[in-house]
């Protein structure tokens, strides 16, 4: 380990001397990519091995990451990156397979619903083919199976089932020794993702009780109600995992709190659809988080990020203040900004922005 560490350090030093970069291997990526995209070093490449249709708008992508990928725990997410029309796009998805599949077959799966108007999900559904290679980051996330075993309640909505699929398969394989309940809300019964896998799990693993509820099959929508929770035995002692649309999560949190469950018993992970773009000046402004400076400030109207940063006492690097020199470009980690010069509205994800011509539209987080 120590030898490897000093080895990497020496390599990084040499990389900086010879190639002016910290990761010497990445220097050869452009050549490697042309020969075999699985040799790329900058991210972990993963080859698409198979694509399975789950429902009309959901597919499962079976991926084989390069061997150096470090693996994951059930319930974690991963960022994928891919170039679409020349632009590197990064998105977060939950791993839907059990870590056991990675350990035995070297495979992982992502189960992805097509978002109306979504750039990356639509591209994955329409353009991505078996044999293609996309990039992965290491897995992350704290949506983890309780250890030691503890009674669990999962509440999932729509494609929010994906991290829970990974957890259920892992728990079943370990023969998890506490009661597990899944309340799974879907629009109609045609929208159930991984129905067969879920039913097979429930059949061979007695600890699991599975309830699938369709919300939009009758005239009146049938959302989560308190009587659904009534059926869960010993609910007050359960660890609750919530994953789904915001409406469902808010409703569930509310009802659970009324039943006396504590906040630390509830674990949730968000699947928020990207906010609608708008150019109305009364919609501009928002809270700006400067992550590197541990600072959050509000902003109003068409103040640009550079002005906001300076008003907050920060001194980001800048130059012309008119969008020419890119001296003030820095990384936006989340949130939407409007380019003052072009009126163009950015995506919600990670990308470089020019502070002096970018106006926040809603909350924005920056590496400043």
């Amino acid at each position: 380990m120590l030898a490897r560490l000093s080895n990497t350090k020496a390599l990084h030093w040499l990389g900086r001397q010879l190639l002016n970069r910290d990761n010497p291997a990445g220097y050869f990526d452009p050549l490697a990519e042309a020969i075999n995209p699985m040799w790329v070093q900058e991210y972990t490449p993963a080859r698409v091995e198979n694509i399975i249709n789950e429902t009309a708008d959901t597919k499962t992508f079976v991926l084989k990451p390069a061997k150096r990928w470090a693996g994951f725990q059930a319930g974690q997410h991963v960022n994928i990156c891919t170039d679409i029309e020349g632009v590197r796009r990064t998105r977060t998805f939950s791993l839907s397979s059990s870590p056991l599949l990675w350990q035995s077959e070297g495979q992982i799966t992502l189960t992805i619903k097509r978002l109306p108007g979504g750039l990356v999900t639509n591209w994955m559904h329409d353009a991505l083919q078996p044999g293609d290679v996309i990039g992965l980051t290491e897995a992350f996330g704290e949506f983890l199976i309780p250890e030691p075993a503890h009674p669990v309640l999962f509440i999932a909505g729509g494609s929010g089932i994906t991290p829970i699929l990974s957890q259920l398969q892992t728990m079943a394989a370990e023969d998890y020794r506490a009661p597990v309940t899944l309340l799974y809300y879907v629009r109609t019964h045609n929208d159930v993702i991984a129905r067969e896998a879920l039913q097979a799990l429930a059949a061979r693993w007695p600890a699991l009780s599975l309830t699938i509820i369709a919300t939009n099959e009758s005239d009146e929508p049938r959302y989560l109600r308190d009587s659904d929770l009534e059926t869960v035995a010993g609910i007050k002692a359960r660890e609750v995992f919530l994953c789904g649309p915001k409406g469902l999560m808010d409703l569930a949190t509310d009802l659970l709190a009324k039943r006396g469950l504590k906040e630390k018993q509830m674990h949730s992970t968000f699947f928020a659809p990207p906010a609608q773009a708008s150019l109305d000046s009364d919609q501009l402004g928002g809270e700006v988080t400067f992550s590197n400076s541990n600072l959050k400030v509000g902003s109003e109207g068409d103040a640009n990020l550079l002005e906001i940063a300076e008003a907050a006492g920060l001194k980001p690097q800048y130059g012309c203040r008119m969008g020419i020199c890119h001296q003030c470009s820095c990384r936006k980690t989340s949130g939407i900004v409007v380019n003052r010069l072009t009126g163009k509205v950015s995506g919600p994800g990670e990308e470089p922005v020019q502070l002096c011509v970018s106006v926040p539209q809603g909350p924005v987080a920056l590496d400043v």
């Binding site: 001397q17 002016n20 020349g86 130059g319 020199c325 890119h326 001296q327």
Partner: protein, 363 residues
């Protein structure tokens, strides 16, 4: 400088913005493919040059290896590094092509370059006293600077600057002329000097220590080849850059006329202060498309390989406002640069008399 009224300047801005918007809306796969292709070419040339170099004891191989490595450095500096650092490819969101983190294969640190070139030179282009790239504080290239006898020898300075160009660019931000005049103290420049020594040391170590030692039995050959490759890059880069702003008709400006200027006025200054040269496709690639210096100065953050495509539109705008569009063959443009360096090395009295004579002959 060509004078336009406020309305014309606003209209000029609109016309040029329209050209820019059209390109921005069209950015995509084609641009990504282009820059990736150039990067693959650079990697191939650099690896090829380095591998061939130890076999340089065979004379034709020495020439091929030195030229290959020299061209690799030219492509990396001019078509990749310079353009990436302008933010031309930031929209690709590729961390390896990010304007703020890219570090290039030359002595000047990218941070220093972004300050002196992207900000100072591109914002204050050709404003005497504010754009330190105008003559690099060692050459007198216009009569805005008072003549003194030292200028008589400035042709030697020019040759030295060209041969040692990467070191000259590297120390540019030291602002030694301001230190000499007592406007700055050495102490103020310590952080800069530290960075300069680190990056300069790194570049020297690589080409003049590491690779020669790696191939010890033929170290002198590898050293000579690496010196040659750096020299090729230095001379070429310097020549291309001098053709961009120091040709005969490239204009200079005073601080007063640019105070509080509008974007339209800034555009006008970029159009009249820059000059192009013509040539084949490879001449443009090897100059990082600075052969389209006018287009580059008007749109510094559009991918440079787009300049040839928008050149006609820019020329049409120039024609509309009767703004001169300064272009000519490489030889012609470079000839006027040499003439300018020579001309302004002379005292004003001698220079004007010589110029007067020529004008008389012309009549």
């Amino acid at each position: 400088m060509k004078k336009l009224n406020e309305d014309q300047l606003n209209e000029l801005q609109k016309d040029l913005d329209a050209i820019r918007d059209e390109v921005i809306a069209d950015l995509g796969e084609r641009d990504a493919k282009y820059i990736r292709k150039i990067i693959r070419l650079h990697r191939t040339l650099e690896v090829g040059g380095r591998v061939m170099m130890p076999f340089g004891f065979i004379p034709p191989v020495f020439v091929a290896a030195t030229a290959t490595l020299g061209i690799a450095k030219i492509i990396e500096n001019m078509e990749i590094g310079h353009n990436v650092m302008h933010g031309q490819y930031d929209w690709m969101n590729d961390p390896a092509l990010n304007s703020q983190t890219y570090e290039w294969d030359t002595v000047c640190t990218s941070d220093s370059w972004r300050r002196t070139h992207n900000y100072e030179h591109h914002t204050y282009t050709n404003i005497i006293g504010k754009d330190r790239d105008y003559g690099y504080a060692v050459l007198r290239l216009s009569d805005d600077v008072k003549w003194h006898p030292g200028h008589l020898l400035q042709f030697i300075n020019y040759i030295l600057l060209t041969v040692l160009f990467q070191w000259g660019v590297g120390v540019h931000e030291l602002e030694s002329e301001k230190i000499r005049r007592g406007e700055l103290r050495w102490r103020d420049k310590l952080p800069f000097l530290k960075d300069f020594v680190r990056k300069g040391g790194r570049q020297g170590f690589k080409d003049y220590v590491f690779f020669p030692l790696l191939t010890l039995p033929v170290a002198p050959i590898v050293l000579a080849g690496n010196v040659g490759a750096n020299l090729i890059r230095n001379i070429w880069a310097s020549t291309v850059i001098f053709c961009g702003h120091f040709t005969q008709d490239a204009e200079t400006f005073t601080e007063e006329e640019c105070e509080g200027e509008s974007k339209g006025h800034w555009y006008l200054r970029q159009l009249t202060g820059s000059s192009n040269f013509t040539g084949g496709k490879w001449l443009h690639v090897l100059s990082g498309h600075l052969s389209y210096q006018i287009e580059h100065h008007v749109f510094p953050d559009l991918p440079a390989h787009r300049y040839p495509e928008i050149s006609e539109k820019v020329q049409a705008v120039c024609e509309k406002y009767d703004i001169p569009y300064n272009t000519g063959s490489f030889a012609k443009q470079y000839g006027t640069v040499l003439k300018r360096i020579g001309k302004f090395s002379l005292p004003d009295v001698v220079r004007t008399r010589l110029e007067g004579k020529r004008e008389l002959q012309a009549i």
